[in-house]
Subunit: 135 residues, 3 copies
């Protein structure tokens, strides 16, 4: 199905997913580095004091939010949305998740919560449009 | 590809995925609420006594089971199944996962295990049909 | 869309995803068996001594690596790659992840790290090709 790449909505989806997977891998690398720095066999309380817990939390938050986006974003593309709507949703979500990671690590509140909510709103917005198209 | 929404199998997939993502977000919200209630810095044993562990467990169980369903369900649709087969599988799975969450929180055994196994059987049933079609 | 199953790239994707989900379910079963063996209410340190932690770690590593593969692999197929390229990537990734699980449980270093890196390289290779096609 080479013609899908001619669809600007699918192209935006491909780019957003690629960037998000790279971001997740970067966080995984940082998690691994942090774990070996604070030693794998420390108990959770010590690891938290030494800064290990934050990166692990970012990583889990990523799994919970980015992985559902992959599915909802693809269904959104396949409902036949305009390239513009797809680009707005996908790049806002991607930016929000990068901002979430940065603000989590830098402990910048309330920006972390704002980035989290913005990402959730993107997913929920697409989800509502999917339900309207499907029902 | 607007024509995909004319496929009742894809429509059922879209609806099931949307409901399941909403369910996962609801559990995530409950997890966050529980965490802030029992305080984030309690050790796991205290959190368990205070009821925090259950919601976290539901959430992880969701990630492990619902996320693979998203992929297997989509491949199942794309193998060209009938709308009826898709609806039976997708809505049974969706119902089973909602029942799993409710019975987990309400601690209703053996119903929780039954709901879990029913969801797994849906995924495995689709998976077997995919392998038959692909091999 | 029954014609997708005529695409050897999509067929390889379907087979790889099915095998990987079966592998993840097998690890989940082992995790559950280990948990009930070492008792669910042991603290993490005891569980680790008794061998429980390893299987849980495999499982999380699976979620972090196999689930992004599902999305990247599908986009890769939909960019219109050759069946040969898809088969090389998908079956190498599948073999690497099975090897990762086996070497994790059998504690065979450095093979576990080699299997992990091989899997990551597959995903990153596809991701680069996707970005080249999309940009």
């Amino acid at each position: 199905m080479p013609q899908l790449m001619n669809d600007p909505a699918f192209r935006a989806y491909s780019i957003a997913c690629s960037i998000l997977v790279l971001k997740m891998f970067a966080v995984a690398l940082m998690t691994a580095a942090t774990r070996s720095r604070v030693k794998q066999f420390l108990n959770p309380e010590d690891a938290k004091v030494l800064g290990g817990a934050d990166v692990t939390q970012v990583h889990r938050n990523d799994l919970e939010n980015i992985l559902p986006f992959f599915t909802i974003g693809l269904i959104f593309v396949l409902t036949g949305v305009s390239g513009f709507a797809a680009q707005v949703y996908f790049y806002t979500f991607t930016g929000a998740r990068i901002a979430h990671t940065v603000t989590y690590i830098a402990r910048l509140q309330p920006w972390r919560t704002i980035a989290f909510v913005l990402g959730q709103l993107c997913t929920i917005g697409m989800l509502v449009q999917i339900l309207i198209a499907a029902l």
